[in-house]
């Protein structure tokens, strides 16, 4: 194995690497042993705390309904945010200043605000001004917060996707006499959708993770919150935490892998323009509330960083 940074190791380097491996492995084992020992000292490894997860009732009564709510909120948010994001993304590319500027301001504004602030606001707003029942309200609030935020991120993805297409596409379309709307709807958008797909799937990971915020702060009964009721029954706070974390990891890992597979496939596809929005650029920075979109450096390949 060789890379940019080092040659194929020779005999001395190999010996050194073995030494490093041994030392590092020892440290890791020490850490794991300490974690295991502490857990066992505190009685966290008792079978009684873990056995509920081998029974179907713990899943059907608590975890699966919670997971269903997580997925429901995430799916709703994506389905609503996507068209909104497309509209704003295209608006930002408009030739008219009066369309471009307000769209830009709105997108930048919602990207600059933490998604939790949006959720908390939506929750209170629905409580004061609408007749949404109190057990539905957290879902509405979470979805609203996620839509506002993610529509603005998706707007940037859409904009970047369209900009990533070769200029010749627009020019050729104009040359054969298509009008602006036609260029957008029949030439640019269909290609841009393909380009954007991996980034969109990656954004789904961000959304899934953010639903947990609603569970912790707004009493939305998603996976993390369903864990509370479960732990109240079995008295297993830490084990239930670990199980929930693993479910999130698996779910998001599947989504991430799907995005990577899509990206790979589209990149190698013969018929596409070859332009693909890298997932890492978006999902990479995609934390709970990403500064995200700004980092999509397409075209030049240089990581563009126009901030917020």
């Amino acid at each position: 194995m060789s890379s940019v940074l080092y040659d194929t190791p020779g005999p001395r380097a190999k010996r050194r690497n073995v030494l490093y491996t041994v030392v590092f492995a020892a440290l890791l084992v020490l850490l794991l042993w300490w974690a295991w020992q502490t857990m066992s000292d505190k009685g966290q490894l008792e079978w009684a705390k873990w056995s509920p997860f081998t029974e179907s009732q713990a899943w059907t009564t608590y975890l699966l309904p919670g997971l269903a709510n997580t997925l429901k909120a995430a799916a709703l948010s994506m389905v609503i945010a996507l068209p909104l994001g497309a509209v704003f993304g295209i608006a930002r590319l408009s030739d008219h200043r009066w369309v471009r500027v307000p769209a830009g301001v709105i997108v930048e504004f919602f990207r600059a605000i933490p998604v939790l602030i949006l959720m908390v606001f939506a929750n209170q707003f629905y409580s004061e001004s609408t007749a949404i029942s109190s057990d539905e309200r957290p879902l509405y609030a979470v979805v609203t917060g996620l839509v506002l935020y993610n529509a603005s991120v998706l707007a940037e993805i859409v904009r970047a996707g369209i900009l990533s297409l070769p200029k010749g596409q627009t020019e050729a379309a104009q040359a054969i006499g298509l009008r602006k709307t036609q260029v957008m709807t029949s030439i640019l958008l269909p290609q841009a959708v393909t380009v954007m797909l991996p980034a969109i799937v990656s954004q789904l990971v961000v959304i899934v993770k953010d639903t947990a915020l609603g569970g912790a702060m707004l009493n939305f009964t998603e996976l993390l919150n369903a864990r509370k009721t479960l732990a109240a029954n079995y008295a297993n706070v830490i084990p239930s935490f670990i199980v929930v974390a693993v479910i999130f990891i698996v779910l998001n890992f599947i989504l991430t892998s799907f995005a990577a597979w899509l990206e790979n496939r589209l990149r190698r596809g013969k018929k596409s323009t070859g332009a693909v929005l890298p997932t890492a650029a978006v999902a990479g920075t995609a934390a709970t509330g990403v500064g995200g979109g700004g980092g999509i450096g397409i075209g030049g390949g240089a990581p563009g960083g126009d901030g917020t």
């Binding site: 009732q57 429901k72 799916a75 029942s133 959708v193 912790a216 009493n219 509370k228």
Partner: protein
Amino acid sequence: MKLLKVTAASATVFALALTATACGSDDGGDSGNGGGKKITVGIKYDQPGIGLKEPDGSFSGFDVDVATYVAKQLGYDAKNIEFKETPSADRENALKRGDVDFIVASYSINDERKKQVDFAGPYLLAHQDLLVRADEKGISEGTDLNGKKLCSVTGSTSAQNVKKEIAPKANLQEVGTYSECVDGLASGAVDALTTDDSILAGYSAQEQYKGKFKLVGLKLSNENYGIGVKKGDTEMVDKINKALEKMVSDKSWDKAVQENFGDSYKNEPAPKIGDIVK
């Protein structure tokens, strides 16, 4: 061809989204089976001894027993009761909007709340108390909490009481639910847990924690648990009060206390209807 590919790809995303939505949309729709009208009652889902959602989907606890008894007197069989979770912050709203018919959820009667909802009862007199480890010797009164680690749930008034009036130097950890406090108490990360003694008794009576904790037995406050009803629905209040009186007189009340709070809980006698201990 290209368009087909695009459509197929985006369809995948949407299909993914839709299946997920479909999974979760089965709530509330299937109440058409069986005869009789339904009654909706707000309870807690995560408090052992008070209101707890059991692994098999049923509910247990003192509040649940009271709610079931009252509903029975109002003419609703157990199978026609629909329980809904009403977290503390949502109780007034849920009643105002009529999401629930009444609420039995460790709901203390106070003047602030009486402005927004009506109360039947009280059906239990509880007191704010402390739960400590069974071998704890350093905490016997409220002021002992100074310098100690105290745990309660976010936004709980009982914790604020202690911090403001009894032991200003106590370290307060606020978590999402009492079971996390109890876990911290068991592992030694916190020294005491404060809330109503009825809730604390429910936890210490839980199988996993039997014998590990004790109630200090301080009566730091009087909590008169009432049944919350929509403001102005005096007919409902009267009916519930009659049911509560009957529950006490036919001894079902004593039985429910015994079953849910365990032997170590020294409960107050059943309160008289309308008799609020300040």
